[in-house]
């Protein structure tokens, strides 16, 4: 019983400290860089119709010079200017990007594919 309690307490402490450790990394000056792990544009009506945009997203990330916060335009730049589902309009295509801040997995989107929009990927530690 006693060892069960200890495990429970240790687990709770770990869970509580996980976000704090990331912030502590920032406070201590340890840089946590953004690593994009996936990028997909997909048709809302035809979910099987997808486009892997990881190369385009990583290219955009490259312009941020390893900053801890980076804006990734999520318009037609992600699909080489092509409309994945012609005629489906503004609401017809969505973008989802997953990325890592150190060991923590993050997600931006889904949002509509939008030439006026930029997802802000953020590893500054303020991700709550």
């Amino acid at each position: 019983m006693r060892s069960y309690d200890s495990v429970l307490i240790a687990l709770s402490v770990c869970l509580l400290l996980t976000p704090l450790s990331a912030q502590a990394q920032e406070v201590s000056g340890e840089k946590v860089s953004i690593e994009i792990t996936s990028c997909v544009v997909y048709s809302v009506k035809h979910p099987a119709n997808t486009y892997d945009c990881i190369a385009e997203a990583k290219k955009a990330l490259g312009t941020c010079n390893e900053a801890q916060s980076c804006e990734i335009p999520i318009g037609y730049n992600l699909t080489s200017g092509k409309d994945l589902d012609p005629g489906s309009g503004f609401l017809g295509k969505q973008v989802k990007i997953t990325y890592k801040c150190g060991t923590d997995s993050m997600q931006g989107g889904p949002y509509q594919q939008d030439d006026h929009a930029s997802l802000v990927l953020d590893c500054s530690g303020m991700w709550w």
Binding site: E71, G89, F90, L91, M106, Q107, G108, G109, P110, Y111, Q112, D114, H116, A117, S118, L119, V120, D122, W128
Partner: protein
């Protein structure tokens, strides 16, 4: 004639000729005196109008997120701050254009601060609720996921005002600042809702193109307010926004305006003979041109019809004036009686209860509409009603009608209820608009000629009101009247810019000549030190301000 006499005469003639030619060469004596300038012949802001302007300027400059004084009982999904902001800014644009074209900093600062406020999340994030739509109006069977971008699709209730204000600002000040990338930026930082941080960036032209395309795609019916709901009144701000945008950019977006009007008439949404219109057209969810269904047709000055008339007057003058009066003047008389008799305050709409404030907004839109079409009789009666019932206040030099939720009506038809949109903005707009003010704003656009004319700046707005600032091109004269502001000061200064350094200016103060400004000559009489040319070519003027002071800078011809 003796030869001696002949010599004398010749000498006299020669001397006269020499003296005469010298006189012509002298700039001080050769130039024709300036043309007389009578200040009473020029636009002048009254004390009350200056108070209204001060209040609108103060509301513009409140700290981001401070909406003190804006709060309304009308709980429209997006709330009503954006409308107060937009109409407040356009009231200042009108005053700038009509009254003080040669004094810009106060108005420009406030108009641009209002444009900034339209980008605050408190204003645009509520769009997310509206974008989800739902069963109301029979559009959908349930709410949808919605979308965050406040410009991309629908929401003319925000983007029309970005276009209208941005284009007006560019027209007035000759600066293309809203053409810059990200001129309008919306940053969603939501923590409790949303799929991560996201920014939306638009230029003024992006917004103009977007609205234009939606008008075309709808079969020229218009851009939707909420999804699948197209309101006639909501098109008016963007329609006139197209006028200014085209004037500044040389485009032709405003070509859609008559096409839109024709479409409404042909589809029966406007009855051009009886001046009835459908306030809203419902459409299909996926296609704004499909399944368009109008609500019942009503008079165009009833309810919130003035919202459209105020601005559409600029491009559809005759029709808008005719619609205001209705056949035989009937509609105007009915509406005026409705608003003067207190009936408006007795008729809350159950669907949006409590909604008395909506009726106060309708009251305000009607007086502003009456002012624009030049119905001074109606404006004066309504202003008298406001003075009698709406408890106006002076506060730090500001004049306005504070919100009151007391919409009870006495036996004489008096009601004290006021919505802030009406009390802060619409009554001020009506008071400042002496008829056709918006028509002038959109049909007498400023350009390079106006941007190069003399004007004043660096006025301490706390100690000084500027009630006149007008450059008369024909007389080549700059007229300025300063009045004491809310903070007492013995002396104040202002700068005169863009005087022509090759000209000589006679300066009068309160009709007495106080000096001459001659940039080229030495030893000017510059009003005993009260005026000073500076290295940058501007003139610094110092004056007492205990009483109104009127200056005229008149160029010799």
């Amino acid at each position: 004639m003796s030869s001696a006499k002949s010599v004398l005469i010749c000498a006299f003639v020669l001397a006269s000729a020499v003296l005469s030619s010298e006189a012509c060469a002298s700039p001080s004596s050769s130039s024709t005196p300036p043309m007389a300038v009578n200040p009473s012949e020029y636009p002048k802001l009254t004390r009350m109008e200056l108070g209204h302007i001060r209040h609108l300027v103060k509301l513009a400059h409140q700290l981001p997120g401070d909406w003190s004084g804006y709060g309304s009982q009308w709980l429209l999904t997006e709330r009503t701050q954006q409308f107060q902001i937009a109409f407040g800014a356009m009231t200042l644009a009108l005053a700038q254009h009509e009254y003080t074209p040669a004094y810009r900093e106060l108005y420009r600062g406030a108009i641009e601060a209002y444009i900034d406020r339209l980008q605050h999340p408190d204003i645009w994030e509520r769009w997310f609720f509206s974008s989800r739509s739902g069963t109301r109006g029979g559009i959908l069977n349930d709410m949808q996921a919605g979308w965050t971008d406040p410009i991309a699709k629908d929401n003319i209730m925000l983007k029309a005002y970005l276009l209208q204000l941005g284009a007006a600002d560019e027209m007035l000040y000759g600066d293309h600042k809203y053409d810059e990338p990200g001129a309008f930026t919306f940053y969603h930082r939501g923590q409790g809702m949303g799929n991560g941080l996201i920014k939306f960036r638009y230029t003024l032209e992006d917004v103009a193109k977007n609205i234009h395309q939606e008008v075309v795609d709808s079969g020229y019916v218009g851009s939707s307010c909420e999804p699948a709901r197209i309101f006639w009144v909501c098109q008016a701000p963007s329609s006139v926004g197209f006028l200014h945008f085209d004037q500044v950019h040389g485009t032709h977006y405003a070509d859609v305006l008559p096409k839109m009007k024709d479409a409404w008439v042909k589809k029966g949404f406007i009855d051009a003979k009886t001046y009835r219109y459908a306030e809203v057209i419902f459409t299909a969810w996926e296609d704004r041109a499909a399944n368009q269904r109008p609500v019942e047709l009503t008079p165009m000055d009833q309810d919130i019809g003035g919202w459209a008339g105020i601005y559409n007057h600029a491009w559809d003058k005759e029709f808008v004036e005719a619609a205001y009066y209705g056949v035989g003047g009937h509609d105007r008389d009915v509406a005026l009686n409705y608003f003067l008799s207190g009936e408006y305050a007795k008729a809350p709409r159950a669907a949006d209860n409590p909604i008395h404030a909506y009726d106060s907004v309708a009251w305000g839109l009607f007086i502003a509409y009456a002012a624009e079409v030049g119905d001074r009789e109606a404006v004066n009666k309504l202003l008298a009603y406001a003075q009698r019932n709406f408890n106006p206040v002076w506060e730090n030099g500001e004049y306005y009608y504070p919100r009151s939720d007391d919409f009870s009506v006495d036996a004489d038809g008096n009601s004290h209820g006021v919505d802030p949109w009406t009390g802060n903005v619409l009554i001020a707009m009506a008071g400042l608009n002496k008829g056709g003010g918006f028509y002038n704003l959109y049909n007498q656009a400023w350009g390079e000629e106006q941007y190069r004319q003399p004007y004043i700046s660096d006025v301490d707005a706390l100690s000084t009101n500027v009630s006149q600032a007008f450059y008369d091109k024909r007389k080549d004269a700059l007229l300025v009247t300063l009045e004491p502001g809310p903070i007492a000061a013995k002396k104040v200064q202002f700068t005169v810019r863009q005087l022509d350094p090759t000209k000589i200016y006679t300066v009068t103060k309160n009709s007495k000549v106080v000096g001459r400004l001659d940039r080229k000559a030495q030893g000017n009489d510059e009003g005993h030190g009260s005026m000073k040319w500076r290295e940058d070519g501007t003139v610094l003027v110092t004056t007492t301000i205990g009483n109104p002071q009127t200056f005229v800078f008149s160029a010799s011809r």
